[in-house]
């Protein structure tokens, strides 16, 4: 077979490598915190997530001390309530989801052959908001302000009536913006995987971990919005008495459970699938053979991802739902074991067909197998409705969920730390310490959680701060408490190993496991010296010379083409090169914006409105300032990248990565809106008398029609403005069309509001009016956002930064505009829908 020539010839021009290193030079000293590229943000992120693992885990140790013996009075019930709420919330929201995104931020670009993620400042912003907000959220424990309603915060326990004070508000607002941070990470990951893969890395050559993170990114997009909405609704109820969950006023506390578990159950898979992806990467290397059933594993990831959205009600079997509907969810809960099982069999087959290295990552993976499979089996038991009724809210469930989460997530993450540490520091962690850690954790987890099954079956309810002597629970609880400290010892060994042996190296050129994927190529702050042409799934195994070729600059884009940091944007399916993406360098703005966002939400919680406003202003100004430089002028010429391919350094429309990110953002936005629509129809379904009940009236028809017409006219005005810009007429006509659109958008919003006020609907009277006002307020938030963006677009137009070619900013704005128009029209249709019944 004739071999294709490499994309770029030797010798490379003098100074090419040095120039590349210069533009990617990381900041020095304390300025390192202004770094935005993935190698630094990924490490910061992992460090912060591990900190929250320690903090959340420490709370578990306190709880186990309290439960070690019967009738213990070490911790009172009030503090205990705060401890278990914070333990669950911190580990689910501040450790589990962030750490999977953190690992992706660190590893994905190298794994898919990109120099960086497509929106480095967005990653940095998400990280700083998460760190600042998470630390403040955790410190509420020290001020007796920590939430105490359990990590799923069911109303009415958390309503204004039964949970006065700020504790619940800290959870609602604190967790709310941490979810926003997670969504920002998901957008980054999705666009990064789909658009920045190395040329030739088609979908069927994509590493399994990239598949897993792509699917998980999509799951975050659809799973997090329901809980964002739920937290907003409960906060509105607590702050303004809008009765979404108050049965006496047409609300329903079970609505919260639906919205929470629409997030909560996929969240389990959001945590598990990346871990499964990590396992699928480690096992072939450790077994020194290709992954058996690559296609089947991708199939399993896709199948599990979608089916996991149909399981949420299995957390609600005890709410008194009809038998048949419970059975549907029971069946779906069992169906998901098919794709999940396929993965396990593929892993076993790979191990069986290879020659397994007995290393620390391997031991952690074996621990994962044992513990996760046990958790999965008790999951199948709990999917059986009658059994669930018996075990519901007992320690059996506590045992099940910890087996699933620790087995399915913590063990693979620790395996990943031991496996990929050389990518960061150029040398492995201590094998000896890794094996000790794994042994301690495996023994500790079983010692802690296996007895909980028995305690649960003996009738011990979860979340009790003590139990009476003589119930037969003493030995099981004592064993669990001892086990918890053994787990802690295992975790401590890992952390000590990291402190002793992990160093951030500059250039890294190692491959101790002889792995086959791209992250094991020589790396520096810029990632790879040249971006490889990928021809197989395990390129380092199939082309041993690739290492040298890439490092000599013989593959794509070995040079600095545009004078700054760059990576390649490729086609989402066949990964053919499309354009050069100019990525931003270090900046303090993401940190400022992150701190401002955290300050806004947290100060709002303590009702410091002026200070919260200042926080919001800091966040907004920082974001607009960083955006100002993010749509640079297109270069005049095409740039050679190798293989005789010449690429532009700018793209707009559907080719642009910004377009893709905006579409993903609209999916998030649409999912929040769909959750609100679901709330409306759910409350309608359970309403005992009329919707709305007399004497409440439906929104005024004439004002509703006026709102619809003006919204559609606003959409037409934007189409007109777009047409004028396309023809490069940055004249008064463009400004007039744009301005008219904004006026129409505001008119539509005011008509929408007037349709409610004209019939004297008040949001605090009934759940119908509360949802109707929330739909209007949600539309109002979009109109305000579009107005801010409109001002920004005008500023860019006036300064010559917007024209027919340089128009990514306008395209983003236009997409959100049309989305908002149609959202408004559908919202009006929803609140008026009872007319047709």
């Amino acid at each position: 077979m004739i071999e294709r020539p490499l994309p770029n010839p030797l010798p490379r021009p003098d100074g090419e490598r040095e120039e590349l290193a210069r533009v990617w030079q990381p900041p020095r000293g304390w300025r390192i915190f202004s770094a935005v590229n993935n190698t630094y943000i990924g490490l910061f992120y992992i460090g912060a997530a591990l900190l929250f693992l320690v903090l959340g885990g420490s709370l578990a140790l306190l709880m186990r001390l309290q439960l070690a013996v019967a009738d213990n009075d070490l911790i009172d019930h009030d503090l205990y309530n705060q401890l278990f709420t914070m333990h669950g919330s911190v580990l689910m929201f501040l450790f589990a989801v962030p750490v999977i995104e953190a690992i992706a931020v660190l590893l994905l670009p190298a794994m898919v052959g990109a120099r960086d993620l497509p929106f480095p400042r967005l990653s940095a912003y998400a990280f700083w908001a998460y760190l600042a907000g998470g630390l403040v959220f955790f410190s509420t424990l020290f001020f007796d302000l920590a939430p105490d309603g359990g990590w799923f915060m069911y109303p009415p326990l958390t309503s204004w009536e039964f949970s006065p004070g700020l504790r619940t508000d800290f959870w609602l607002l604190g967790i709310g913006f941490i979810e926003i941070s997670a969504i920002a990470g998901a957008i980054e990951i999705i666009v990064g995987i789909l658009r920045t893969r190395a040329p030739g890395m088609t979908l069927d050559r994509m590493p399994v971990y990239a598949w897993a993170m792509l699917i998980v990114g999509g799951m975050i997009v659809f799973a997090f919005p329901p809980v964002i909405l739920a937290t907003a609704l409960l906060e509105l109820e607590r702050a303004f008495r809008w009765p979404f969950f108050v049965a006496a006023q047409g609300g329903d506390p079970v609505l919260w459970q639906h919205l929470f578990w629409l997030f909560g159950h996929p969240d389990v898979y959001i945590i598990f699938l990346p871990a499964a992806g990590l396992v699928s990467m480690i096992i072939p290397t450790i077994a020194r053979t290709a992954l058996v059933g690559y296609r089947w594993i991708v199939f399993a990831l896709l199948g599990t991802g979608l089916i996991s959205f149909a399981l949420w009600v299995h957390h609600m079997f005890a709410t008194g739902m009809p038998h048949l509907t419970a059975s549907f969810f029971s069946a779906a809960s069992m169906a998901v074991s098919i794709p999940a099982g396929v993965q396990v069999f593929s892993w076993i087959a790979t191990l069986r067909s290879g020659n397994v290295q007995r290393s620390a990552p391997m031991w952690f993976i074996l621990g994962f197998f044992g513990i996760f499979v046990l958790g999965g089996l008790t999951g199948v038991m709990l999917a059986v409705v009658p059994f669930d009724w018996q075990a519901h809210d007992t320690y059996f469930v506590v045992a099940h969920l910890h087996y699933v989460l620790i087995g399915g997530m913590l063990f693979p993450v620790f395996a990943a730390i031991y496996y990929w540490a050389p990518v960061v520091s150029g040398q492995p962690l201590s094998e000896r310490m890794g094996k000790w850690a794994c042994g301690l954790m495996f023994a500790g987890v079983n010692l802690t959680f296996f007895p909980m099954h028995i305690a649960g079956l003996l009738g011990m309810p979860r979340r009790v701060w003590t139990y009476a002597d003589g119930l037969g629970l003493e030995p099981w609880n004592l064993l669990s408490s001892v086990g918890a400290f053994v787990v802690a010892a295992g975790v401590a060994v890992v952390l000590i190993d990291l402190i002793l042996h992990l160093r951030v190296a500059g250039r890294v050129d190692v491959n101790p496991w002889n792995a086959g994927t791209l992250e094991w190529l020589p790396q520096d702050n810029q990632g790879l010296r040249s971006i490889p042409r990928v021809e197989s799934r395990d390129p380092l195994w199939d082309r041993p010379s690739l290492r040298g070729e890439v490092d000599r600059g013989q593959h794509y884009l070995p040079q600095v083409a545009t004078g700054g940091r760059e990576t390649l944007v490729t086609h989402p399916i066949d990964a053919s090169p499309q354009y050069i993406l100019r990525v931003p360098g270090p900046s303090w703005l993401p940190m400022l914006a992150g701190f401002g966002t955290a300050a806004f939400f947290l100060l709002l919680t303590v009702k410091q409105f002026v200070a919260a406003g200042i926080g919001a202003a800091i966040a907004l100004v920082s974001i607009f300032r960083w955006l100002w430089s993010s749509d640079p002028a297109p270069g005049a010429k095409l740039h050679p990248i190798g293989d005789d391919i010449h690429l532009p350094d700018y793209a707009s429309g559907t080719v642009s990565h910004a377009w893709w990110a905006t579409v993903v953002l609209m999916l998030v936005d649409g999912a929040i809106f769909a959750s609100l629509a679901f709330s409306f129809f759910y409350l309608w379904t359970v309403a005992p008398a009329g919707w709305p009940p007399a004497p409440l009236a439906l929104p005024d028809a004439a004002w509703s029609i006026a709102a619809t017409v003006t919204a559609l006219m606003a959409g037409a005005a934007m189409m007109g403005a777009n047409s004028l810009l396309r023809n490069n007429r940055r004249s008064a006509a463009f400004s007039a069309a744009h301005g008219a659109g904004l006026i129409l958008l505001w008119s539509s919003l005011l008509c929408m509001l007037q349709s409610l006020r004209a019939v004297d609907l008040r949001p605090h009277e009934h759940s119908f009016s509360a949802v109707a006002y929330t739909l209007t307020a949600w539309q109002g938030a979009h109109v305000v956002l579009l107005t801010l963006m409109g001002g920004y677009v005008i500023a860019r137009s006036l300064t010559g930064r917007l024209d027919a070619e340089r128009r990514v900013t306008f395209d983003t704005y236009r997409l959100l505009w049309h989305y908002s128009v149609w959202q408004g029209v559908i919202a009006l249709a929803i609140v008026n829908s009872p007319r047709i019944v």
Binding site: F299, L306, F328, F329, A335, I338, D574
Partner: protein
């Protein structure tokens, strides 16, 4: 060769499972509304209404899944082997899921 479009490829791969998702949502919402609005106890030709509607929906969903999967397999012929395989395998999984979800309505005589 022109690269395949991402959106249409994604829908072709997911077609079967999305049909299952729509089916699942429909049978769940119908059963829930029937029980909440107190018409779940009604029978048509001796069959409980919820079981009857679930049965009809099952037949339609199965037909749609098979048709969509066949269509996807034809449209994806000539593209990568992985995308075609995924369309077929996910279609098969969807068929199993539909049958599985439909089973309770055959064995449970009381819907509500």
């Amino acid at each position: 060769m022109k690269a395949p479009r991402f959106t249409s490829t994604a829908f072709l791969i997911w077609g079967g499972l999305l049909t299952w998702a729509a089916y699942f949502l429909f049978v769940y919402v119908f059963a829930a509304v029937a029980c909440t609005r107190r018409f779940g106890h009604l029978s048509v030709a001796g069959l409980p209404i919820v079981s009857l509607v679930t049965g009809i929906a099952t037949v339609i969903a199965l037909g749609a899944t098979v048709a969509l999967t066949r269509f996807a397999a034809q449209r994806l012929a000539g593209t990568s082997a992985l995308t075609r395989f995924l369309a077929l395998a996910l279609g098969a999984l969807a068929v199993i899921c539909i049958l599985w979800v439909a089973l309770p309505s055959l064995v449970l005589h009381r819907s509500c």
